[in-house]
Symmetry: C2
Subunit: 374 residues, 2 copies
């Protein structure tokens, strides 16, 4: 249980008194510190920050990121783009290969036609680009698109086909090819940030060259993930799309991507049962903490105040916390602060979160784009 003991180093948000549980508490002082920490460093390097808003889905937190120097927002789908555009965010990149058929064609067109929105969309296939072009056919302006390249994450992006994709999109389909992007998702493990960041830089360097070969200026050369937020932040990369850096979570803390004082989120949970020996049960289960457990983690979150305790199982509304013999345990009715493994899916379960500063409630803030997954 080395990791459990180490978790005592985390200084999670203080919980406000009298809170109804389960609740997600986010400390704005820590959030602002995180926003400036990365924003300032990237500014120093002359690299833009376009944070991924899927982490928080909150218009207010997005505005806070822009105030700390972010250039615009990254989103993961049309639904998030619709919500943030309606919230007044005017520079959005949908970092996803949207398949613009049927209802999605009309939704993309409606966003493209907004005069006050600067929009770009990802693509990684000619067929996908054809549908993007068809969706905006007859528009006064071209649709900005950015080609996705796989840096070794094996998710989306076709680097070997980059030249053909760029030529088809720009010349045959009349799309405004603005650049290239990668997601270093293979950085989510201990020690993986360095190699994955280098993979992103190498892949994007080749992608920028492919653009130049078509006489297209690589306006956007964008890498993204919180672990590679600094390892990929070197030329020719000119934009970073980190998301989780703002709020932190146990996973990012564990792999060293977020410092001990950078975890801004805690799930407040009440001990509701101590009936079974060696265990307490909290009222945060799978519908609060999720079942997201990275291979290098043990348990469904960590409780820094009880570092030896292991959240061993979760059912929908129960979290079963094993208490090793001879270690401290919370009492029945006690409210504990749980650091969730992965912030993104946890926030997506909430209509709102409790925004605090040092344990004082600032407001109940809506998760504006909650449930927008397509």
């Amino acid at each position: 249980m080395t990791e459990g003991r180490d978790s005592q180093r985390i200084s999670p948000p203080a919980l406000p008194a009298g809170i109804d549980t389960p609740a997600v508490v986010i400390d704005l002082d820590i959030v602002e510190r995180n926003a400036h920490r990365l924003g300032d460093e990237l500014s120093r390097r002359g690299i833009a920050l376009r944070p991924h808003a899927k982490t928080h889905k909150s218009v207010a937190l997005a505005r806070l990121q822009l105030e700390a120097g972010a250039r615009g927002l990254t989103v993961g789908n049309l639904g998030e783009a619709e919500v943030f555009a309606a919230g007044g965010l005017d520079d959005l990149f949908i970092a996803y290969p949207i398949w613009a058929d049927g209802p999605k064609a009309a939704r993309l067109r409606a966003l493209h036609d907004l005069d006050n929105l600067r929009l770009a969309v990802g693509f990684d296939s000619i067929a996908g680009a054809e549908r993007l072009a068809a969706a905006v056919a007859g528009s006064r302006r071209r649709l900005a698109v950015i080609l996705e390249l796989d840096p070794g994450n094996r998710r989306t992006g076709a680097p070997a086909q980059a030249a053909g994709l760029i030529a088809a999109a720009a010349r045959e389909l009349g799309l405004d090819v603005r650049g290239v992007f990668t997601h270093g998702g293979h950085a989510y493990g201990p020690g993986a940030a360095g190699p994955a960041g280098a993979d992103e830089v190498a892949t994007l360097t080749a992608g920028a060259a492919a653009l130049a070969a078509e006489n297209i200026e690589p306006v956007v050369v964008s890498a993204g993930s919180t672990p590679t937020q600094l390892t990929a932040a070197v030329a020719p990369v000119n934009e970073i799309r980190a998301g989780t850096y703002l709020i932190g979570d146990r996973q990012q803390w564990f792999i060293g991507a977020v410092p001990d004082d950078g975890v801004a989120i805690a799930v407040a949970a009440t001990v509701v049962s101590t009936a079974v020996d060696g265990q307490v049960v909290i009222d945060a289960g799978a519908k609060t903490l999720t079942k997201d457990v990275a291979s290098y983690l043990t348990g469904h979150g960590v409780i820094p105040a009880y570092p030896e305790a292991v959240i061993e199982r979760v059912s929908d509304y129960h979290g079963m916390v094993r208490i090793p013999p001879g270690t401290p345990r919370p009492t029945l009715g006690e409210i504990v602060a749980v650091i969730p493994n992965h912030v993104c899916p946890v926030i997506d379960l909430r209509d709102s979160f409790v925004a605090t500063r040092s344990g004082t409630i600032v407001g109940i803030w809506p998760v504006d784009a909650r449930g927008r997954s397509g």
Copy 2:
């Protein structure tokens, strides 16, 4: 991949044409058949059905269950009770050891004071019962409570303390102890339904005897879980609290608790990328399918039309589907029907679902209690 091939036997809901993805589709014909299948069998046995509404969180589906013979509803927390009470459901059991402190005391009292609601609440500790009693102090009527007993699931419930808990709740605290309940959560595995059902019956038999020893009639002797819906449905059990039986999912189908024609749910997902060899990517990821994968399952859902395909990884908005060499694969842009592993957390991510009958849309139905987890 035996299981994958076997999944071809599932007849999932037909997907309506032109649907926006990702979407949750629920076929009402299959739902009604499931509702009657269990309702009729329990009726034949003289046992009440009080389905757990956490599976669907839908007032409309709850009404459908009542029309098929259910006596009332089970819910998992005060939030669900508030939503279903507001929706006109008048007989609710909160099968959870509510810790009625602070905001929850006031919320419980408000529900208790509703004239048109019959409410019962679970408990498994004297301290918990004390707070329940305090929350309703001065009320004209006693609060109905039901003692939880652990049948071997090791979650909540204290069978060894049953006698003392019953005496304290009924005599000292003035609560209306109506009965005992178990949850056979240890039945969620292949071949586990028989033994777990027997555990529930044995535990409840002892609990009913403890009530009789206090001269309390065991009005409610309630077992619950979809796998034990029939194995626990024998005297002295007089109530079953199955939930997932209504809609089904891959997990319940796999362990035999739901028949091949009993899976009423499909997630409609579009293939958005085929850039990486041996793989297609669908637009249903962790924020749609969840990361709920029982130990006996492989992958984050199953696609009956492509039974060899494995949904190997999910990130928030991407599902990475491995296509073994030489097996059929869906094409870019194709919409596929995914059977999710576990229906409960999947529905909790949606504000609404597409209600169909044989592929025709009946309506977009709200998930009324979505996000109510406490």
